[in-house]
């Protein structure tokens, strides 16, 4: 790693960018946009977020608050857990633990920094990761492994049985940093009693592990608040998803990133609810005016990403979709499968979860069920065409949102989906949905630049007659 990268801590640098960006809108709009010319390196990403108005401002303030909590955790006597993204942070609140959700933190870095996180990604390889391992983890993890961020106290992983390369990053980190490690392990089935019981026992093991690390017991009243808040968030999220079914979709495409950030960083906390409520307000207003969520208010095409989105390049993908009047209807990362989700119908209901605040056991079970239905954990665990797996979830999203085309993008480490995307794309094409497989890396623009990917999408939608 170059010397200059070691001058400042990564998480502190990201926090200070977000902090000042979040203050920008506290003045007037003229002041805010006037300021951007002095921040050319961050301008595109922040502008894309703040153009949404209140939801964008709340999102930045939420992220700022979260990063401050991470940075000050130890001085406030709290333990820090290094977590996978598909992890309900709500469970850590009643255990008084602050999560470093690795993938969202990587996303912040690749979104905000013009140069991306290449140096940190490379650092992981310098100390022994394969260069083909998951970039979503390697980004922020490189900084933490280099000591350029807070020092986690233990590691919690919810991707075992789902994604080897993701899980390897966490087991490697635990070994390299000498930290205690707990894994939640997904069996290949989801909705049968055996799998449910397995998950619930596994999840109780996690709580015991964290209690052991912190010396504190689970705060049941706090857990109840988390459960109630999670339920509220699920309702909001489901309404937003329901609104996305409208043609035109009144939901701005960038809201998918907001949802991702809110859910993974503050799921079960009021901070996320505030962001989601504000998003809902905007979506409802657009719907009432029969207006699309794009800046122009028009919708010329609808797109759905069958796996993840492309997070690097300062949010230019979203700005580009917006400029083309393409409603971006999200990706698998937004599908959380609460019981009211619009895509959960018929047999798919077995794959949903419900928040039950009745007593301590039901609350723990609720969170265990939620954790086992997190994106990827739910649908990438078994054969792609098994019940509740990748194919059925993709088909449910297609049926719900009626996209004009689908796209696949992942990382170079996504063995689990690269191993089946060609056959999945064949299935979606057979259904009449043009599907584009993009070779690139959602977190590392050095693999394929966004501009190159953009040209491919542009050519695809032209050749396939999607955008006239």
């Amino acid at each position: 790693m170059r010397k200059e990268y070691k001058e400042y801590d990564f998480d502190r640098m990201v926090q200070s960018i977000i902090h000042f960006a979040s203050l920008a809108y506290d003045g007037t709009r003229k002041e805010a946009f006037g300021m951007f010319r002095y921040a050319p390196r961050f301008r595109e990403a922040i502008e894309t977020i703040l153009m949404t108005g209140e939801p964008g401002v709340l999102l930045l303030k939420m992220i700022d608050k979260y990063l401050i909590e991470v940075l000050t955790a130890h001085e406030r006597g709290k333990k820090i857990a290094l977590c996978t993204f598909n992890f309900s942070p709500g469970v850590l609140k009643p255990l008084d633990v602050v999560p470093v959700c690795l993938e969202p933190v990587t996303t912040l870095g690749v979104m905000m920094w013009l140069r991306g996180l290449g140096e940190y990604l490379n650092y992981c390889c310098e100390i022994g990761f394969t260069e083909t391992s998951c970039s979503a983890q390697r980004g922020a993890l490189g900084a933490y492994l280099a000591g350029l961020g807070v020092k986690p106290d233990f590691v919690l992983c919810n991707s075992i049985g789902v994604c080897d390369t993701n899980a390897t990053a966490f087991s490697f980190a635990a070994e390299y940093l000498g930290l205690p490690f707990y894994q939640l392990n997904a069996p290949p089935t989801l909705a049968d009693d055996r799998a449910r019981e397995y998950h619930r026992q596994d999840f109780r093991g996690l709580i015991s592990f964290v209690e052991e690390q912190t010396g504190r017991k689970l705060d049941v009243e706090c857990l109840r608040e988390v459960i109630v808040e999670t339920d509220r968030q699920d309702e909001i999220m489901c309404e937003i998803e329901d609104l996305m079914r409208l043609v035109p979709s009144p939901v701005p495409g960038i809201f998918n990133v907001f949802m991702y950030s809110a859910k993974y960083i503050y799921g079960g906390s009021k901070e996320a609810t505030d962001v989601m409520s504000s998003m809902l307000k905007v979506a409802r207003r657009n719907a009432a005016q029969a207006r699309a969520g794009t800046t122009s208010g028009s919708e010329d095409a609808r797109a759905f990403a069958v796996y993840v989105d492309h997070y690097s390049a300062q949010l230019r993908p979203w700005a580009w979709f917006d400029s083309k009047n393409i409603s971006h209807l999200g990706c698998m990362m937004n599908g959380f499968w609460p019981v009211h989700a619009p895509y959960a119908e018929g047999e798919l209901m077995d794959g949903t979860y419900r928040m039950d605040p009745s007593n301590e056991d039901t609350m723990i079970d609720s969170l265990a069920d939620q954790m086992s239905r997190m994106p990827m954990v739910k649908q990438i665990r078994g054969p792609y065409d098994d019940p509740h797996q990748w194919l059925s979830d993709t088909m449910a999203s297609i049926k719900t949102y009626k996209p004009d085309f689908c796209m696949y993008t992942g990382t170079i480490g996504c063995r689990n989906t690269w191993g089946a995307i060609k056959i999945l794309a064949r299935d979606t094409e057979n259904l009449g949905i043009p599907t584009l497989i993009l070779f690139g890396d959602a977190f590392d623009h050095r693999i394929t630049s966004w501009e190159s990917m953009r040209d491919r999408i542009d050519e695809f939608i032209t050749v396939r007659g999607i955008l006239k």
């Binding site: 990761f129 083909t132 391992s133 080897d164 390897t168 087991s171 690269w418 191993g419």
Partner: protein, 378 residues
């Protein structure tokens, strides 16, 4: 005898399999060392660990798999697509790793498209990635389901006694292979690493009864022979799956002799016996799940390191070759930890990434092994 082992080790459809099929008996393939062969054997069938050996292209595999997938499952799929696995009557697939588990879907689709055939029996065997009381309970149930499915499909009955006999037979084989390890630990090594690899691989590709008898005779003969290879650097091969005898031969052509390994086609497949008392299904499940020698069992690196150190000590190893097939992140990343920890103990290591299959990278590998051999202390 060695000729028999070499034939089985270096080819796919060997004469033992052909003879088995000519007798009208079934062969069940499996893709990972976490599948208990005892169960297939107890059902009167031949367990056959699927390999990619002999693939000369990945054109069919690349049609179904994406681009960043390990070449080992790609070679398996290629052979399946070419009809080379048409002798299989069934297949058991596992989530061994993310690349190997997708052989399932890709193979089924390839067969739909008339690239080879998919066996009439398919079972997806959900092996957990951790060892706890509830994961063992899951795995016991999963194993019972496997037995039930085999019984239903092949119209057979697998009794507890059948399983006990199979456990005895397989434990016998494991003990014989451990004896082979002992002989390879001698100062004068009685067998090259390449030949030993063929002997070990043959265990998963021919009837176990015949194998055990052949191996017993072979070990007796080898035990009597006090000659052997001496004065060459003693190597241990670790990392990703390797069933390629020629890779070992290539490594040894640089002047070393491979005296041990920690591979899933190698010593990992015969470490730990199945308990012969009690419920045989529970005993089988316990042995296979508790077997944490593959990095798919996350959080057990320390145990694997201890195993590696013990192998190094027993076989008096001078240097360790840590290899991974490209896109094998689990072995690739863990190899770096081994390198760190073993070199700290004074054990020289070579970390190398390679492709599986025909030795297209022969020159590159040879050059790196040559350099490593030169660097080993005299």
């Amino acid at each position: 005898m060695l000729k028999d082992f070499l034939e089985v080790g270096k080819t796919l459809g060997n004469r033992f399999v052909r003879q088995w099929k000519e007798e009208g008996r079934q062969v069940v393939g499996f893709t990972c060392s976490y599948v208990p062969e005892e169960i297939i054997h107890a059902g009167g069938m031949l367990p056959f660990r699927m390999r990619g050996i002999g693939a000369t292209s990945t054109s069919i595999a690349d049609t179904y798999f994406g681009p960043v997938i390990c070449s080992f499952p790609k070679c398996i799929l290629q052979l399946a697509g070419e009809g080379k696995y048409d002798f299989l009557d069934g297949v058991i697939l596992t989530p061994g790793c993310d690349s190997i588990r997708r052989v399932d879907e890709c193979w089924r689709k390839a067969a739909e498209d008339t690239h080879g055939t998919f066996p009439p029996f398919r079972h997806y065997y959900g092996v957990p990635h951790k060892v706890t009381d509830y994961s063992l309970a899951w795995f016991v149930e999963e194993t019972r389901k496997l037995i039930e499915n085999l019984e239903r499909h092949f119209n057979i009955t697998i009794t507890a006694d059948d399983l006990r006999r199979a456990i005895g037979e397989y434990n016998r084989g494991r003990m014989l292979l451990t004896k082979l390890d002992g002989l390879r630990s001698r100062k004068k090594v009685p067998i090259t690493g390449a030949d030993a690899t063929a002997v070990i691989i043959a265990a998963n590709a021919m009837p176990r009864g015949i194998y055990n008898r052949l191996l017993e005779d072979f070990l007796d003969e080898m035990g009597r022979n006090r000659d052997g290879i001496k004065g060459r650097k003693r190597l241990l091969l670790a990392g990703s799956a390797n069933d390629d005898v020629d890779l070992v031969r290539l490594i040894e052509s640089s002047g070393g002799v491979m005296v041990a390994d920690t591979l899933c086609f190698g010593s990992r497949s015969y470490m730990d016996l199945v308990e012969e008392d009690g419920d045989p299904v529970v005993a089988i499940a316990r042995r296979y799940l508790s077997h944490k020698l593959c990095p798919r069992m996350f959080g057990a690196y320390r145990q694997r390191l201890a195993f590696m150190k013990e192998r190094i000590r027993q076989a008096k190893v001078d240097g360790v070759i840590l290899q991974n097939i490209r896109f094998c992140d689990m072995h690739g990343s863990e190899n770096s930890l081994y390198e760190r920890d073993l070199e700290a103990l004074g054990v020289p290591c070579l970390k190398i990434e390679r492709e599986y299959g025909p030795l297209v990278e022969e020159g590159r590998i040879k050059m790196r092994v040559d350099a490593f051999m030169e660097s080993l202390p005299a």
